[in-house]
Symmetry: none
Subunit: 407 residues, 2 copies
């Protein structure tokens, strides 16, 4: 992991000013039209978003690269101005962030699935019949109580995520994280033994294998969840903060642990989560002094997309649009409205479609012909189509936070 010359240049040109940038992120905002070609964003009555689009410039941004469907980690790294191909957040670490598990430097985290094994030890169901979360909690408490990593100085944490999914964390000195998945991704074979890619990771793998054997014994009497599969071993990445990179004093206004965790990875200040979506403007207002970058995260557009609920996605957009004037009343110099990825209603999942984006900065942004905020309109916008990692530098430029390059 490292800087490209371009990223390095952005960092060198950045300087601190008093101007403020609001980054309003609708998770999974981008969508596909229905039979009439209209997306939820286009169907929404959102006069405030439309006004910002009309007064600003619009475009389409690829969170990672054209055609790539991003997970939440890469999507947010792109939002925060990091190339998601250079800066990686592993699945295990993301799972920890998602349940607010306080990872420490050096911890090795992995996602796990409960699974069903037959009497020969072969996998019958990789998701243990999608056991309910309550059953997961019962088993996970048992494992937390009984499993012994078998090495002095090493601690093990089992945590429930949801349904058949959980989090394993190993803590102790000298644990490597380059451990291959034990989940073979197919049924009919037994789980793979854990293997490390280097000496420290071999040590981790040996512990994981001991743990796996103990889990099998402890769960032998279970009808469905009688085995465990690990994947995505990783350790918390050391990502330079937004302050180091861009001299920003960023603050995270987000309700959900995953996004708070991603924001924490890049060094954002972290006031308590707003109790409801309508509380975001007040939370931003409360931190207005002392900060110049406000990450406002709206989860429910993504959730509506995952649920295939067109009307709900429209409602969420309209709900945010109603309180947008409260954010503008704070008088930010720059407002960006964008997304970490698309979650089209017909897909009920993340997709590769570039995200509709508007950049508003009176007197600084070059207006284009777009006068409504929507996917199709953005395709003809003045920002064009860019990698998402360019969006934060563009916001910095429009906030007067990037100095001239070269003489």
């Amino acid at each position: 992991m490292g800087w490209t010359r371009e990223e390095d240049t952005y960092g060198k040109l950045a300087h601190r000013t008093d101007s403020r940038i609001v980054f309003l992120v609708f998770d999974g905002l981008g969508d596909l039209g229905g039979p009439d070609g209209v997306t939820p964003l286009e169907a929404a009555r959102a006069p405030n978003l439309d006004r910002l689009a009309a007064e600003g410039a619009c475009g389409l941004f690829d969170p990672v690269a054209p055609g790539i469907t991003p997970g939440s980690g890469p999507g947010h790294l792109g939002l925060f101005g990091y190339d998601p191909l250079e800066w990686l957040v592993g699945r295990g670490v993301l799972a920890a962030l998602g349940i607010d598990f306080p990872l420490e430097p050096g911890d090795v985290a992995a996602r796990f699935n409960y699974c069903t094994l037959d009497s020969s030890g072969a996998i019958v169901d990789r998701r243990a019949g999608r056991i309910p979360t309550s059953e997961n909690e019962r088993l996970t408490r048992l494992l937390q109580e009984k499993v012994d990593p078998g090495e002095p100085g090493i601690r093990v944490f089992f945590r429930t995520v949801a349904e058949h999914r959980g989090l394993l964390v190993l803590r102790g000195e000298g644990l490597g994280h380059r451990v291959a998945d034990t989940d073979p991704q197919v049924t009919g074979s037994p789980p793979l033994p854990a293997r490390g890619e280097d000496e420290a990771s071999e040590r981790t793998a040996a512990i994981v294998n001991r743990i796996e054997a103990q889990v099998r014994t402890l769960l032998a009497g279970e009808a469905r969840a009688n085995g465990i599969l690990f994947r995505g071993f990783d350790t918390k990445p050391e990502i330079p903060s937004l302050e180091e990179r861009y001299r920003l004093r960023p603050v995270c206004i987000a309700q959900y642990p995953m996004y708070r965790g991603l924001a924490r990875l890049v060094g954002m200040d972290m006031p308590p989560p707003p109790p409801e979506l309508d509380a975001l403007p007040e939370a931003a207002s409360a931190r207005w002094e002392g900060h110049d970058y406000f990450f406002l995260h709206v989860k429910y557009t993504d959730k509506a997309g995952e649920d295939g609920d067109f009307d709900r996605k429209v409602e969420v957009i309209e709900q945010v649009d109603r309180w947008l004037p409260d954010v503008l009343d704070l008088r930010p110099e720059v407002v960006v409205v964008t997304a970490d990825h698309s979650t089209p209603v017909p897909h009920r999942a993340h997709s590769w479609h570039p995200v509709p984006t508007l950049l508003w900065a009176p007197g600084r942004v070059r207006r284009d012909s777009v006068d409504r905020f929507g996917e199709t309109a953005c395709a003809a916008g003045g920002l064009g189509r860019l990698h998402l990692r360019y969006l934060l530098p563009l916001a910095l430029a429009n906030a007067g936070k990037l100095q001239k390059y070269g003489a």
Copy 2:
């Protein structure tokens, strides 16, 4: 400094043909709209530019990268197809180019400011009250006459740039150029001693420090300009020429030393400067044989932007539009109209906004829906939004000068 694989590939595919490319560069052309959203380019009556836009393809180009405000050096390197993040022209070298000082390989050049020091030697004014150029000339003549670099084989040149600004050049064997600025960029402290980053540059730094002490003695009686601050030490970069890279036989038709100097860095032929803006077509015509790339540089759009003079910027565009048919009468295969950067009238300075660009090449370019040349129209053009370094390769392709890649 070196080639990326992409640049290397362009170079390998380029071959010489008889077709000709005109690169008409309006310095600082890009702008922001006024309250009505109309830019100078959009306000101008420019039927010939509009016709080329209608018959060709348009787009927006980022001189360096999105959000980056380029100096003239990086902007022109982008125009000439070089990645400005890889190929750097230092401030001292640019100052030399700007006054047509004939830098030789190995010369070390630096910008200097006359400054005002108080009796303790601390800087009171980094620009010596912006002394008039005539005062600068008097002092600079004195320094040129009296200062002795104090080492055999080393020569020193002092030159006036304008107001408080000047150029220092050291010439001799084995001078390093990695010397830190002596300008601390703040008042209240004394100038910094020059320091070199390597042995050869330490030698340069020692000479600079001797010079600085002599200057202080020579100027001790001056009311305002009694000190000197150096910055941007550099040596002429070794940039492969457009002939080496692309098999071009390029010629520079530009009035101002800075742009002629930048063109000389990439190996352009250099006929005498046209006496006036309206003489550019004739100057191109006079060199039509023997060349296939014509860099036509229009300075006054940038100047009007720096002066905040909307109407003047419109006038310059209309003036060039009137003689554009004379250029077309020469029958170039490709015409590109673009800029090295934006200089918006409301900013009175360079900016990060991408530059409006048209590419005209009958029978070769894919026409788009744009029928007027302007910033907003270009945003919806067929060239999209690209880094400026791609523009010259696009022109080469449209001139039939790039061969197929791979089988």
